[in-house]
Symmetry: C2
Subunit: 341 residues, 2 copies
């Protein structure tokens, strides 16, 4: 690792996060790094008769309350969506709180109510929890870990290694809403934008797509690091190239404006209520229709396709711009938006 | 709740923690508070054919490295022991890290290695993880959440509601080692004591006891709030009284000395490698023998018994002192040792 101290960039969901997981955690815990992806590591637990899926995430977003959601809704939806990407039916969540001394109890109540509402909406049960309190200055108000358990009732877990040339790339809606809503709130841009976070549970959308398009290759939720991280990870895992059409990617005008103002690349901005789905061409239409009739999927679009990878040295993910040129969609290296989830 | 702001005492494992869980978390998540105990809430997940057990805990101990262990070993053992108390076979752990910017990477490596070693010793697999980094001052170095999944292969989960008058109270070893080791380290008492934390995985000890004493009522690990919290919770859950003999409780001389020096009641000090076990009288000898031949159980003792509860207004847990008098063993109200786990 290039540096011997933790930097904010290690938490970015970009390549430094991946390096940290690959070099520090996976070797220690005996996982095979090459089978992993995304900004965390998730495993399928083989336990007869069904496969269990377990996924964990800690939420440190600041501010705790932002347009469209709060840390509680985020903590439930984030883990529900992580488990759902495997194709599992999400059943149970645990929650672990680290609370700073002095936190107004009404804040905690509001967050917990929000978690309960999100869990009801997702149809999952929060079944175990723990609280720790640290002194003032010991944490920034409130951190929440959620761990989700799901069951795969048919077949095996979906894998990011199964993308094939010719497959279509689907995106369930507009990009960048969560990151921009949180950043605008933090930077005091409330007057120039009314963008709300897209934070939402997508297990229903995933199930609907799987019913109509049973040969879906994989799902991924483009959170930290955005669409750019997600597509780069999939391309590497499957040893393919991916090309998307800029004109087909749904982005709200306000979000585009804020990204320009803040100097952000919308393709690298975090989403918390969007799914990327890779589907064989002959099921792409059915998958798209299923997304569009699901809650949170009305703006779904086919945004690109999987290609042969011409050479390992070539950048695996490209964007065809509205001018007809091609540009590389890089994986973000470090921190673009700290504490976004 | 008496106060409307979070206080350190809300994290103590005493009655204020219980109030926080009962009043804030359980109502929101639809759990029945009366069926719960301990300083966190744990649930048995009914999932055919075996019962799943899920338990979560976040570790914020300071300092990160202390005599006898570190936050990594603690994070693995703490959750392994929580799941084991239900009688489940512990299979999988998740881990969620919150890391402060600037943490020396060697510290993180040492902690992760320690987690891996503890998991190997316990025979559990760490299968999923996540890392978040917060800016300097955003957390105190390193917090680790672990969530454990276990399976109950025979019968149902053990419950704290099944203690009966006549049952014996077993303790697997000396009290107070963890709390005193951490406090001595923090207070710079390294010169006057060489006490080490007892942090250890006890799933092997629990299995050994269950093999020899199949009618065990329940296990509890007396962590935050110590033996006093554990016995008070069990007495309330089972509507019984419990009396222990002070002379039978194993405590190291150094630990007793440090408790006197620091003004601590050893019965309220946290342990991280001890089990309390309630056993019907006719299996108590077999259970004790099984503990004593297990690793980490060589100093096990029968320390008391379960009695009829004379009246609800009477204090449920009492200690018979070496002078022959009786005193009340109260549940700690607030914070005795903050950040002990």
């Amino acid at each position: 690792m290039a540096t011997e101290r933790i930097m904010m960039a290690h938490g970015s969901g970009g390549s430094m996060t991946k390096a940290l997981i690959d070099e520090v955690f996976l070797p220690a815990f005996g996982q095979d790094a090459s089978t992993q992806g995304d900004d965390s590591f998730t495993a399928v637990l083989e336990s007869a008769p069904a496969h269990l899926v377990l996924s964990t995430d800690t939420f440190v977003v600041t501010p705790r309350f932002f347009p469209g959601g709060d840390i509680g809704r985020l903590a439930v939806c984030g883990t529900v969506n992580d488990v759902a990407t495997s194709g599992a039916c999400v059943l149970y969540l645990s929650c672990g709180f680290v609370i700073e001394e002095g936190l107004p109890l009404d804040d905690l109540r509001a967050v917990v109510c929000s978690m309960a509402a999100a869990a009801r909406e997702a149809g999952v049960a929060i079944v175990t929890g723990d609280t720790k309190v640290v002194e003032r200055g010991g944490c920034d108000g409130l951190y929440i870990n959620t761990t989700g358990v799901g069951v795969i009732e048919r077949g095996t877990a979906l894998s990011g290694r199964d993308c094939r040339p010719g497959d279509k790339v689907l995106l369930s809606g507009t990009l960048g809403d969560h990151g921009v809503a949180v950043m605008a709130c933090r930077e005091g841009l409330g007057l120039v934008t009314t963008v709300e976070s897209d934070v939402a549970p997508l297990n229903g959308l995933v199930s609907a797509v799987l019913r109509e398009a049973p040969h879906v290759r994989c799902f991924r939720d483009p959170t930290r690091g955005g669409l750019a991280s997600t597509l780069n990870e999939l391309a590497v895992q499957s040893a393919v190239a991916i090309e998307v059409e800029e004109a087909l990617i749904p982005v709200k005008d306000q979000v585009r404006g804020c990204c320009d103002l803040l100097g952000l690349d919308v393709l690298q901005v975090a989403n918390e209520g969007k799914m990327v789905c890779i589907v064989p061409e002959d099921e792409a239409g059915a998958a798209l229709a299923a997304m569009r009739t699901s809650r949170y999927g009305e703006n779904a679009a086919i945004i690109g396709e999987v290609l042969e990878r011409p050479a390992a040295a070539m950048p695996p993910v490209t964007v065809r711009t509205e001018l007809g040129t091609r540009r590389i969609m890089d994986m973000p290296v470090g921190e673009q938006l700290p504490r976004i989830c």
